[in-house]
């Protein structure tokens, strides 16, 4: 397969990258791991005239705990997310998503910013990130802005990212005591599979009476973007967490999704699985919240 021709830019700083994007904007695409973009270019779905490689920008490759958040550089790879100790200890649902993504070969190149920016409805990282209440930092030559991932996705392949912006950082609030999240993805195979359904759940328990005071349930692969299961969340608020409650929430989540029939599964199957995965991820979230 041949790639279309393009001009290649390799800035060594974020400032330089922003300047290039400001100049070429709509005719440019950023590239880091390329595990999504290269496929699109080979299939002639995309043919940007300019590619801006972020591979030499070290500031985008860090991870640190800061102000009660885990701050992850956009270029941090999915493989690195699977083994990072901060992610393992504090963001276990994100780790589950990272471990499920693609294959070991893809994970060595794929980046967190890429999995968000490519905005595939079945992507493995956005559900847990949204469940954790994460935000994305977008930089351009005009400055920077922070957008909640909950409001980030507009449609398959479409996000808040403007043509001359770069997603440089993801900020994930660290769950405190009595808070936890879980992620499960369902596919036909254990690797290299497009998810049929994936769900992430987050709950926060009240310190005094142990009731659920906050809940976020995010469903992937059942709509054009990751979707919040609002009626399922409403079922949980103010209640004591137990299996029966989670089952009820799972039932409610089925109404909140809009899956399609495709060769991977029927819409009815996906709806049913949303119910199951909601219950199971709530159980994981509860275990983490109780254990913390």
């Amino acid at each position: 397969m041949l790639l279309p021709k393009f001009d290649f830019h390799e800035p060594t700083s974020l400032g330089e990258a922003c300047e290039i994007m400001a100049t070429y904007g709509a005719k440019a695409k950023v590239i880091a791991g390329g595990t999504d973009l290269m496929v699109n270019m080979k299939k002639k779905i995309l043919a940007p005239e300019h590619l801006v490689c972020l591979g030499r920008i070290d500031s985008m490759h860090a991870i640190e705990e800061k102000n009660g958040q885990v701050v992850i550089g956009g270029r941090y790879t999915v493989a690195e997310l699977t083994v990072d100790s901060l992610v393992e200890k504090k963001l276990s649902a994100l780790r589950s998503g990272a471990r499920a993504l693609g294959s070991p070969l893809v994970r060595n190149r794929a980046t967190i910013a890429g999995n968000i920016g490519s905005a595939r409805p079945a992507a493995d990282l956005p559900p847990s990130l949204i469940a954790y209440g994460a935000t994305a930092v977008l930089q351009s030559s005009k400055g920077e802005r922070e957008v909640a991932l909950n409001e980030f996705f507009k449609g398959p392949g479409f996000t808040e990212i403007d043509v001359n912006e770069i997603l440089t950082e993801v900020r994930v609030p660290i769950p405190g005591d009595g808070q936890g999240a879980g992620y499960i993805n369902l596919g036909v195979r254990k690797a290299q599979d497009c998810n049929v359904v994936n769900v992430a759940s987050f709950i926060a328990l009240d310190e005094k009476d142990g009731r659920i005071k906050q809940a976020r349930i995010v469903m992937g692969s059942v709509g054009p973007t990751p979707l919040r299961a609002k009626s399922a969340e409403a079922v949980l608020i103010g209640e004591k967490p137990d299996e029966a409650l989670f089952l009820k929430a799972g039932e409610a989540a089925r109404q909140d999704c809009t899956p399609i029939d495709d060769f991977r599964g029927a819409a009815s199957y996906r709806k049913a699985m949303v119910g199951i995965l909601t219950k199971r991820t709530l159980e994981i979230a509860h275990r983490v919240a109780a254990g913390a």
């Binding site: 041949l2 390329g34 595990t35 290269m38 190149r109």
Partner: protein, 150 residues
């Protein structure tokens, strides 16, 4: 317009001018003549194009040659030394883990990378490590047996 890049391939330094839209797979196969690295799906799904770049196995079909500038690449050709085949290659031969051989270079490199990090992997770890390399011939069992035996 071509760009001059320098990279290390199987311990040899290579300096070459490449078009930006050349993939690392094409650089390795057509410019360097190292045809052990194969082109299967060319979209990162089959692993036939696996090489080890800066110590990590990757799909070379998804890496631009210009992105490999300054990096260290190991291909399947780099495993054999004057002393003979690499232990992983030997094990594959001994266990009948090679039929048509098309997946083998990528499979062996993924296996080598696993064993370098984890000399005694269990079956689950082996299967996970090679989950990016597809084989249509063997059904994987003999490949797993070969890797276990090293």
């Amino acid at each position: 317009m071509k760009r001059l890049i320098t990279l290390t391939v199987n311990d040899r330094e290579v300096e070459i001018a490449v078009e930006p839209n050349m993939t690392l797979t094409d650089l390795i196969r057509y410019e360097l003549g190292l045809t052990g690295t194969k082109k299967g799906c060319e979209t990162g799904d089959c692993g036939a194009c696996t090489v080890i770049m800066d110590g990590l196995p990757v799909n070379s079909c998804l890496v631009l040659a210009v992105q490999a500038n300054g990096r260290t690449i190991e291909t399947i050709e780099g495993l054999e030394t004057g002393a003979g085949l690499h232990p992983v290659q030997d094990a594959f031969v001994e266990h009948g883990a090679i039929q048509c051989g098309f997946c083998s270079p990528g499979m062996i490199l993924s296996a080598k990378h696993l064993l370098d990090k984890n000399p005694r992997p269990d079956e689950g770890e082996i299967r996970a490590a090679i989950s990016g390399n597809l084989c249509r011939c063997t059904g994987y069992q003999k490949i797993i047996d070969a890797i276990k035996s090293v």
